[in-house]
Symmetry: C2
Subunit: 425 residues, 2 copies
């Protein structure tokens, strides 16, 4: 049996970003950049005021070259212009003068500092925006409250790299550099096919020997959570012809996720049907718990989308819901993220470390992924495996916000030991 | 000026879950439960096999009550039935006999353990599912590989609580207990209105004194990230009548998010127009950096939706993109999450702690939220404030996956000090 790390490697070898497409900026959220983004301007475009206040010459404060109209310890300057947002200054700031400026406007020529409006009081002359401003402060430093031109971004600078996920901050940067459209990697289609004669559709009361189909809705939700285009194939029965037809439909997608039918049961037909359909097995069985029966293979050749000649990644997940979930998280999620265009090093399931909140005994030799709760406490994260009755217990999974990772080897873990975990979305 | 904690309290006082609605299970992902969910069945419905194997009597192994057909150290039993998924056993397991069972099927009467198929070899009789099975193991414990009835969930048990976010694991539990529809809290509408004469639409090259509208697309993306129904109001100009009309439209939503026009600039008309429209100010200005000019108020009264008599929460965010982003994350996001129905204690922006990766100096007295990068290293999370040029620098925000929180008070922080941070979505 191969290890989780080996299985991860195998899947990564077959998962490549889809062909890029152009989308309007408003549809780009949570997609992955398929181009490097360069700035078409300086930000700010000129030396700009960071506050609402007065553009002044710092020397008017330090050298007391100002008119003191009998005010104790203050500085008074003549306001010669007011520049509101969207406008540019017309005048130059000479000694003894100031220009009223709003946040973000260009600092007038001659000025080398801006004093905040909160540090001043202004007597307007009747009917005019002009008048005399009195400052309470004398501590004015050259450059104060000024953001020099191009501090944030320089014309031509690389501002976002190909493969980056587009979050609200990236939307802001894209809007800032004038992008109304952006090239992103294509959105993968993910077909979902739970299999098994024991499955009944939600809403029906399961008869003897039957259970409700939980994997179907869960795996569809897992795909949607990743913004994939999900194709719901219904329920596959343990009957070769029907299974073959459904799997054939699923092979039109970028990823086909089956569940059930991959163990050692006598009706576990999935591997045989996949072989018939020329899906090449890459591996079957991984040394992990839950999830050991995982099957992974590749169907080659062209797809309907003639621009996209990649193959279909086929995952046969175990039928137990928690096994299915864990395998999805560890193997299918990174594959989908990679198809979406996430950079290779970043597509893996996110990992962090935490201290065990209570002792825990691992009784299997296989690497174990146990539903757990991370507490982001003041003194650093701790993790507590939740009460969980094995791979059929999806109830326990709903109490978890992480999977605790116990590496290969049966072992007793003391409270306070540091272990790795996968936080869950 | 009030503190961030006080402002958070004020907002929480006005943010209540929307009126619940029923949605199909397939539309429930990422919504919040508006009902407690109880199970309509036992899971598993009876004692069930956890593996593919043979249901046996443990005493047949320990007491050697079996037929040894000359096989060294092995145990042989007669297979009297095979039960595949979806079917129920017809026979009882007597001493010397076994029933072939698949994962998930009911354990036949008489059997008290299941031995994995991997630990056996089976000689079928020609044309029959029956035959003799040989086991390599003699270590069989009562209850082995059997999940007793109702281990995971008992009939009538509370399985999910009101206010819980519906992730794929919750979808699995809802499907398991037969829910095809589920009551969730309503989806809030969030209106977005950036203001300012300096703003030009994306795609245009800004003339002198102008900048591109980055807050609009960014705040729309922030709302969509939370699955809110976003109403894009375009750009508001610093002109009272047009601003009044747009704000009036925005007041039909559950949340109105304005940006710009709330500082001390002479064209900062937003607070005055809001007052005219009978939006009651709750607070203006918060002791934080960036984000000090934040304005928050409430417009009362009934809405179009006659079932929903809640008021509109109005946020006047500062015009600088990073100030806007930080205020959205700290105040608007928790409000939206609460309207979506998230439990009161869980709606706040998520927080964790990490060790400072390098020394950092805070020069303001206000609480500081600095874009930063959390590294989830093997030895616990570390956080490095990113190079960031202040509230106009959205470029720096794109390099961040967290906001580092420095509490009130100018201070020098040593590398290795533990600080809190808000991880970003």
């Amino acid at each position: 049996m191969i290890t989780v790390e080996q299985a991860t490697e195998y899947v990564a070898q077959y998962a490549w970003p889809k062909v890029p497409q152009s989308v309007p900026l408003e549809d780009a959220l949570n997609r992955f950049l398929a181009e490097d983004i360069f700035s078409d301007l300086d930000v700010p475009p000129n030396d700009q005021s960071l506050v609402d206040g007065y553009a002044v010459r710092a020397t008017d404060f330090s050298q007391r070259v100002f008119r003191e109209k009998g005010v104790e310890g203050g500085v008074e300057l003549e306001v010669v212009e007011e520049v509101t947002a969207g406008n540019v200054p017309a005048s130059r700031v000479e000694s003894g003068r100031a220009v009223r400026v709003m946040t973000g406007v260009r600092v007038p020529d001659g000025a080398d500092a801006v004093v905040m409006v909160e540090e001043s009081s202004w007597q307007r002359e009747t009917g005019l925006p002009l008048g005399v401003v009195h400052f309470n402060t004398r501590e004015v430093v050259v450059g104060q409250n000024i953001m020099p031109r191009a501090t944030s971004v320089r014309y031509g600078q690389l501002v976002l790299s190909c493969g980056k996920r587009i979050r609200p901050a990236e939307i802001a940067v894209l809007a800032q550099v004038g992008r109304t459209d952006v090239r992103v990697f294509g959105r993968p289609q993910v077909a979902v096919l739970p299999t098994g004669n024991e499955l009944v559709d939600g809403g029906f009361v399961p008869g003897p020997g039957k259970i409700r189909n939980t994997n179907g809705p869960m795996l569809i939700a897992c795909g949607r959570q990743l913004d994939a285009d999900v194709l719901d194939l219904g329920i596959g029965r343990d009957e070769p012809q029907q299974l073959r037809n459904l799997i054939e439909r699923g092979l039109s997608a970028d990823v086909l996720v089956l569940s059930g039918g991959v163990s050692a049961g006598t009706l576990d037909l999935v591997p045989a049907v996949l072989e018939e359909l020329k899906v090449r097995q890459v591996f079957h069985k991984v040394s992990m718990k839950p999830g050991k029966p995982l099957w992974f293979g590749i169907a080659g050749g062209n797809k309907d989308d003639s621009n996209d000649d990649r193959s279909t990644l086929v995952f046969g997940l175990p039928g137990n819901p928690v096994s299915s979930f864990v395998c999805f998280h560890l193997f299918v999620r990174p594959a989908i993220r990679r198809l979406c265009g996430q950079a290779a090093g970043e597509a893996a399931a996110p990992k962090c470390s935490a201290l065990l909140a209570h002792p825990f005994e691992v009784t299997t030799d296989r690497a174990t992924y146990h539903p757990a709760w991370i507490d982001w406490s003041e003194t650093g994260p701790t993790i507590a495996p939740v009460l969980w009755h094995g791979s059929g217990d999806s109830r326990g999974l709903a109490d978890a916000n992480a999977l605790a990772i116990f590496p290969e080897g049966a072992r007793y873990y003391e409270a306070g030991q540091r272990i790795f975990c996968h936080p869950l979305d």
